[in-house]
């Protein structure tokens, strides 16, 4: 089963709609609360990254009987140093995002912590595709 979402850049008011929609769907399917929570947190962080850094993008969610695959695709600036970005506390978020309480540099580490598998494809100037897998 597939769900598609559009993520709008710098739209902090509606940020989180994609992960909240995914969470609702997983609840409907009777997935365990713990797995839903992990999926919701990981996807929310990924969604926020696209909102803050990449001018928005798309989310594609594919739900299977034993896992969910979440892909967040953006056409943003790309991540120059993935290893550095994976470190807790590292952030390149603009002031406007920080003032709103975002951009504490916990995004990618938190996604990794909550997912069973995570991969980043990124190209400078072209964008980033983040793929997250969460087993139920």
């Amino acid at each position: 089963m597939k769900l598609d979402f559009v993520i709008r850049g710098s739209d902090f008011i509606n940020a989180g709609e994609a992960s909240s929609g995914t969470k609702k769907a997983l609840t409907r399917l009777g997935i365990s609360p713990k797995a839903i929570k992990r999926a919701a947190i990981a996807m929310y962080e990924a969604e926020l990254n696209a909102v803050i850094h990449a001018g928005g993008g798309n989310a594609e969610v594919e739900i299977f009987s034993d896992h969910v695959q979440i892909r967040v695709i953006d056409n943003g600036p790309g991540i120059p140093d993935v290893e550095l970005a994976m470190q807790e506390g590292w952030s390149t978020a603009p002031d406007i995002a920080r003032e709103m309480g975002f951009g504490a540099g916990m995004g990618l580490p938190n996604i990794k912590k909550n997912s069973n598998d995570m991969s980043i494809e990124t190209e400078i100037g072209h964008g980033t595709t983040l793929t997250i897998m969460i087993r139920f």
Partner: protein, 456 residues
């Protein structure tokens, strides 16, 4: 009478409008055959439908006053929100004395149970910090606990695992009155004078315990006229009969409105939210780990807290103003007569003995493959619905109708727009049929005419 829920529909008053179905936070209500129906498995007893119904067709199922007759020793438990139903010159002692005199042998303040829980929550907070179970979510409002079970099962472990103030007060009342009267437990009847129907459900269908110490729950609105009448004719003797009564602190009394519980918890990092729809948006934030800096959440289903309960009488804003008067009175009592304060420090808050299970009411099917299939069908159906969320089909919105169709409880033509489309289709088919028949008739006629012609 249902043990599971305490909201009842009066079919004669229900006109089948959309007010309640639209306001229900768990989409538990549908209008079928022109009357509202509550799906019990989805009701959390928040009482929103009681408030929303302009025709007063929804009411709470509470215990009648006659239930007192079954007991030899009758005790009333006064909710913190009860005091604020009455204005000056009534004092806390006067309200309690009047309550006692409507037919009870003794009264206890539920605020005492609140004092105990506050003390224990502060100890438990350290434990929760260690176990990383933050934020703690108050479990005092039963509607919120049931909401968590149904929509936020991932947060069950964040709930404060103690019985509610009213249950703890009931335990104390029973223990002390057994000692005092020498009666057997069955002879003692404990009645809660409650601002909400959810508290009655918490007695017939307890949360976190196998059975409740409370024997009955009477609506504040039912007791109000009787208490008012007694208040007006209260004698000095009746007031003095409570002179030796140990009272709650101002902190316990303050639980009557939103924020009163949270402010007493030993943390600056607290949040107090009220109104069931606002509670939902906060729980949503907690579940997304967006409130990492919050350690304690007080969540009340009713706007204003318990003083805004559906079974209260006074306007919640004036009640809040009055409540402040009762709080000041309680502060003064503690200062002038510290020996009149109930020694809450020495009481334990009973911990839940029964696990709080997730309620799978939102689940489309217990089989994941079937659930996936149903979800896809639902998505497909909703794409074909008008998306106006008008409620005319009896479901609160188009998605809910799609769900009902998938569950086999409704059909697409319950949607009046779909029905119109179908009628139009049928009409145009009939039209086609008519013109086809006409053509046939005409052809026949032509044939016949030509037959005639050729016959000439």
């Amino acid at each position: 009478m249902s043990k599971l829920h305490s909201v009842r529909l009066n079919k004669d008053l229900c006109v089948g409008c959309t007010n309640c179905i639209k306001r229900c936070p768990t989409q538990a209500i549908r209008v079928r055959d022109g009357k509202a129906q509550i799906a019990e498995y989805r009701c959390i007893d928040c009482g929103e439908c009681i408030r929303a119904c302009p025709h007063h067709a929804k009411s709470a199922v509470m215990d009648p006053f006659e239930a007192l007759d079954n007991y030899k020793w009758k005790i009333a438990l006064a909710a913190p929100s009860l005091y604020a139903q009455f204005g000056a010159p009534a004092t806390r002692t006067m309200v309690l004395a009047a309550l006692k005199n409507i037919g009870f042998d003794d009264v206890y303040e539920v605020a005492i149970g609140a004092d105990i829980i506050t003390a224990r929550t502060n100890e438990f907070l350290d434990e929760a910090r260690r176990d990383k179970r933050l934020p703690l979510i108050s479990s005092a409002c039963p509607a919120v606990v049931r909401l968590v079970q149904m929509k936020y099962p991932g947060l069950i472990d964040n709930l404060v695992p103690f019985d509610a103030p009213v249950d703890i007060t009931a335990q104390i009342a029973r223990r002390q009155s057994l000692e005092k009267t020498g009666l057997i437990p069955e002879d003692i009847g404990i009645f809660f004078i409650s601002p909400c129907p959810a508290k009655r459900t918490a007695v017939t269908n307890p949360i976190g315990q196998d059975s409740s110490q409370i024997d009955g729950v009477i609506a504040i609105s039912d007791a109000y006229p009787m208490i008012l009448a007694k208040l007006e004719k209260l004698t000095p003797e009746q007031i003095h009969s409570l002179d030796n009564k140990l009272m709650a602190t101002f902190g316990g009394v303050r639980w009557g409105y939103t924020g009163g519980e949270a402010i007493a918890v030993n943390t600056e990092k607290y949040l107090a939210v009220d109104g069931i729809h606002n509670v939902i948006s906060i729980l949503e934030e907690v579940e997304n780990e967006r409130l990492r800096d919050i350690e304690f959440i007080e969540a009340n289903s009713c706007t204003g807290g318990c003083i805004g309960g559906p079974l209260t009488v006074a306007n919640r804003y004036s009640a809040k103003s009055r409540q402040r008067g009762y709080i000041e009175e309680a502060k003064k009592l503690a200062k002038d007569h510290p020996d009149h304060i109930y020694p809450y420090q020495y009481e334990q808050a009973s911990v839940w003995t029964k696990t709080i299970d997730p309620n799978p009411a939102m689940q489309l099917d217990s089989d994941i493959f079937k659930a996936l299939e149903k979800y896809e069908q639902m998505e497909q159906i909703v794409r074909n619905l008008p998306g106006l969320d008008c409620g005319a089909c009896g479901a609160p919105d188009c998605l809910a109708l799609a769900e009902d169709i998938v569950r086999g409880e409704a059909t697409e033509t319950d949607c009046i727009f779909k029905l119109k489309e179908k009628i139009r289709d049928v009409a145009s088919q009939l039209g086609d049929l008519e013109s086809a028949m006409n053509k046939l008739a005409h052809d026949n006629h032509v044939v016949r005419t030509s037959d005639t012609e050729s016959g000439e």
